[in-house]
């Protein structure tokens, strides 16, 4: 909150605002931010609902989760850089089909990546946010009597898809309003995907702001400060518009429900959606592969699919680059995860009995995710400078905690509350002290969610770019900050070299958490996963 107030105060600078409005192409910038953010959110929401509907009714929800997990673990920046390497005219996708099918010996001069309409940015955002929303919807399933609603509707003769969309989906939608708003605001204000994929002449408004913030000329910074205010207004306006739109959609759904139309077969629709999901998943995997290929290839002329040779020089270069930032990245991730869990566990213990308190704490922690990151972080930066700790490891750690805590809370608070209090009571009747009870009874039951929470917090920290940039005053270099800087200067090969860490670290962390969880409980049965 302090951050926001500080940001608003410094941002109120009339001459700077007028300079923003005089920037060439500013109208287009704002428009493309709004357009890409809202269309991407709408598409992702629709796809996520359809995916959950199909998966639950077709009994492959577990497979869906397995599909979305790697995409979820992958930072936006890595997916963005990877997609740029896949979709570009000289990218992996066209290399697969060239020259044998397309006849291209030279990459065609197509404006696909960084296109003015922002279509490639849209693809990237939809890919990433669908995964996030699938997870959010999946988590909300527990709060909605989906099976009963589904069955009632099916007995009335509706196909599984329509009955899901008209009965279960609206109820689920109520549950994911906060995450959805966060996705929407992120879509409008992100730089992580807009830098590698977004329009360029002019860029989206958030990228424009980011360029001003990182400009060496301090007079331009005033413009950036005032711009964060404008971004904030855009975010609020977008959320209000989305709420109105949501109401409209609900009304349409009701009309469709009241029409009573039943399709003979939903199979073509199902198949189409299945293809879209599979294509998205393939695209995500391809972009990870592309990062690896580009980072370790020396020269890589179109249309060769695999780099002809990967010289030792390139490998040592990449290793040297990675080693220098890997230490900082891992230290931040570990510190964020451990400190975050250490903060959240006692708090979760404190409100294990009151669902209301849990929801309130959650909403407060969630607040920073509902603001455009740059607006919020600019306020944080002002605060850090006042405290004279900007540019330190501690400052960056703090900013990472702010963004990791809501996820930790969302995972650990319900997990703690779900533990049957009677275990504890039984232990108490056996005369165990509270400390011993916690250690021998509660802790093992919490071990698995805690492992997952550690992995989640660490991967959130690895992915954070703007917090690192703002709190670190550009002095703390992580894989994310280096990859963003390289992507910002258009050097995709260097960006890929750094993005490897971005992709590999979260995947390894999650793998370790799963394996460790499985090892810990080999001998125990009935421990919650």
């Amino acid at each position: 909150m302090a951050g926001l107030v500080a940001a608003l105060w410094v941002g109120l600078d009339a001459p700077a605002l007028s300079r923003i409005l005089a920037t060439p192409g500013i109208g287009l910038s704002v428009a493309s931010s709004l357009w890409t953010g809202s269309i991407a959110t709408a598409c992702a929401l629709l796809l996520a609902h359809l995916a959950i509907a199909l998966a639950v009714s077709g009994n492959w929800q577990r497979r869906l989760n397995a599909m979305t997990l790697p995409l979820l673990a992958m930072p936006h920046l890595a997916i963005g850089i990877g997609l740029a390497l896949v979709l570009a005219p000289s990218g992996v996708l066209l290399r697969v089909f060239s020259p044998w099918a397309t006849g291209f010996e030279l990459p065609p001069d197509w404006l696909i990546v960084n296109d003015p309409a922002g279509l490639s940015l849209l693809v990237g955002l939809v890919l990433k946010e669908t995964g996030f929303l699938v997870m959010a919807l999946g988590a909300a399933l527990g709060q909605v009597p989906s099976a009963r609603l589904q069955m009632q509707s099916a007995t009335l003769g509706y196909g599984p898809l329509k009955s899901w969309l008209t009965t279960v989906a609206p109820a689920l939608q109520q549950q994911i309003r906060l995450p959805l708003a966060a996705v929407f605001v992120f879509g409008i204000s992100n730089v992580e995907m807009a830098i590698p994929l977004g329009p360029d002449l002019p860029p989206t408004f958030s990228v424009l702001l980011w360029r001003w913030f990182t400009d060496p000329d301090p007079t331009i910074h005033a413009q950036a400060y005032a711009g964060t205010l404008l971004l904030f207004v855009l975010g609020i306006a977008a959320i209000v518009a989305a709420a109105v739109l949501g109401r409209l959609v609900r009304r349409l759904l009701r009309i469709s429900a009241e029409s009573g139309t039943r399709r003979h077969t939903e199979r073509p629709v199902r198949r189409l959606i299945g293809i879209v999901l599979a294509a998205g998943f393939t695209l995500g995997l391809l972009s990870i592969v592309a990062i690896g290929l580009r980072a370790f290839s020396g020269q890589w002329r179109f249309p060769t699919l695999l780099p002809d040779r990967s010289s030792l020089d390139v490998w040592t270069d990449v290793a040297a680059l990675s080693a220098s930032v890997a230490g900082t990245t891992l230290a931040l991730a570990a510190a964020t995860a451990l400190l975050g869990v250490a903060l959240v566990l006692p708090a979760a213990e404190g409100c294990k009995q009151s669902a209301n308190t849990r929801r309130q704490v959650g909403a407060w922690l969630f607040l920073p995710l509902l603001l455009p990151q740059m607006t919020f972080l600019f306020g944080v930066q002002v605060l850090l400078i006042r405290l004279r700790i900007d540019g330190t490891f501690v400052a960056v750690l703090w900013s990472h905690l702010i963004f990791a805590l809501p996820y930790l809370w969302g995972l650990l608070a319900p997990a703690r509350a779900a533990i049957d209090p009677r275990f504890d009571q039984v232990a108490a009747t056996l005369g165990a002290s509270p400390g011993r009870r916690w250690l021998t009874v509660t802790a093992p039951l919490l071990a698995r969610p805690t492992l997952l929470a550690l992995a989640l917090a660490a991967s959130v920290s690895v992915a954070l770019y703007l917090p690192t940039l703002f709190a670190g005053a550009g002095r703390i270099a992580t894989a994310a900050s280096e990859a963003a800087a390289a992507a910002g200067s258009g050097n995709l090969r260097l960006a890929a070299a750094h993005a490897i860490l971005l992709a590999v670290i979260p995947l390894c962390i999650f793998a370790i958490a799963y394996i460790a969880g499985a090892m810990l409980f080999r001998q125990r049965r009935g421990v919650p996963r």
Partner: protein, 399 residues
């Protein structure tokens, strides 16, 4: 007899005024070298390139052996950090024993320090090896971004804007704007330049403006009301070129390395660099295919130099001067120009060297894609032109 007496007088007149100061100068220099013995010199220089860091390590080793000077490379990511550090030291009253003894600098950072009176000197032209520097042939050694250096910084290397191209796709040498334009129009989608206001993109605008202007004189004066008229040849050229450029001029590479990447994957046939050895280095490191040619425009390559300067509060001015003198010695400059080590063109006038020293340079092999060292250098237009050109470009091409 009279004739020989006159001759003697002439000889004396010629020899003494030259020899005597030369003698005391060398005495002075001996004193400086003696004072420098045992000093530690903190050299704040950009540390973002492995090859450059290795070069500085080599210099440190040589200086330790020969002068007992400890050269410490303080690796910075942007020399502007060092400039703010020196300014901060001044406001903290640390007028002696500053933390920086030598900086690698040019352009606006030099201007900031010089105008604030934060530089030691003048010292650059008094160094023994300054005699070898190509002051007369290379105006950029004396004028740094339209500001006269006045001996407050010593040129260390020169950069000249060079165009590199794929030899299998470009034949002939389109080394003037007209030929280049017709090549672009015959090969749509294969030429581009880094997007202004990036450093290299703005340099390209200045290079083309200079090449397109018959009378370059007004470009070296502050830009004024005649900006539109003087710059119109550039806009005409760009308007036509953009139509046939990569992505029809609606997207540009963001930087030099980005464009090198595009040349490497085959999206473009051209790239630009200020370092004529850039492509050869990239080929050596397997970042580019080896069929690359290079050219500098007939009108002259836009050039600038980079320099060494000593902060006013340096704790080791003698050591810093000895280091600087070593770094412009023929031996050190030849190694710096060697593409196996760094590949940065020398600031020395090779013709002025004696045969032994010239041998260092004769031994250099230049890579397959390095242009013959240029003879015509164009200094940067007056500093006021840069911002105006950038603004005009943005107004015109960001729609």
């Amino acid at each position: 007899m009279r004739a020989s007496g006159q001759k003697l007088l002439l000889v004396l007149l010629l020899v003494f005024p030259l020899a005597r100061p030369a003698h005391t100068q060398s005495d002075d220099w001996h004193a400086v070298v003696a004072e420098a013995r045992g000093q530690t010199v903190y050299f704040n220089a950009w540390g973002g390139d492995l090859a450059i860091n290795r070069y500085v390590e080599w210099a440190a080793m040589r200086l330790r052996d020969e002068y007992s000077i400890e050269l410490q490379h303080v690796r910075v990511t942007d020399i502007a950090e060092t400039v703010s550090r020196i300014i901060a030291e001044r406001s903290a009253g640390r007028d002696r024993g500053g933390s920086v003894d030598l900086v690698w600098i040019n352009g606006e950072n030099f201007a900031a320090l010089k105008s604030a009176g934060l530089l030691y000197g003048p010292w650059a032209r008094q160094l023994p090896n300054a005699a070898y520097i190509n002051w007369a042939g290379n105006p950029t050694t004396l004028i740094d971004g339209s500001l006269a250096t006045e001996g407050y910084e010593l040129p260390w290397g020169t950069a000249a804007l060079t165009l590199f191209f794929d030899k299998t796709r470009v034949d002939g040498m389109p080394a003037n704007p007209e030929d280049l334009l017709s090549w672009i129009e015959q090969h749509p989608g294969r030429f581009s330049y880094p997007q202004p206001p990036s450093f290299l993109g703005s340099a390209f605008l200045k290079q083309m403006l200079l090449a397109l202007s018959d009378n370059k004189e007004p470009l070296y004066a502050p830009a004024g009301a005649d900006f539109a008229a003087l710059s119109s040849p550039l806009w005409h050229w760009l308007d036509r070129a953009h139509l046939s450029m990569w992505r029809s001029g609606r997207l540009f590479p963001h930087s030099g390395p980005a464009q090198r990447d595009l040349l490497a994957v085959g999206e473009l046939d051209w790239m630009l660099s200020f370092n004529p050895a850039e492509a050869s280095r990239a080929i050596r490191q397997d970042e580019l295919h080896d069929n690359i040619g290079a050219l500098q425009l007939d009108a002259g390559a836009l050039a600038n130099s980079h320099f060494l300067a000593i902060p006013y509060n340096s704790a080791a001015t003698a050591g810093a001067r000895v280091v600087a003198n070593f770094l412009v010695s023929p031996e050190a400059q030849a190694r710096k120009a060697d593409e196996r080590y760094w590949g940065d063109p020398t600031v020395l006038d090779i013709a002025s060297l004696d045969s032994q020293e010239r041998a260092y340079f004769d031994a250099l092999e230049s890579g397959p894609a390095t242009p013959p060292s240029g003879e015509r250098f164009l200094a940067e237009p007056h500093a006021s032109w840069t911002a105006l050109l950038e603004q005009a470009w943005l107004k015109r091409y960001v729609r």
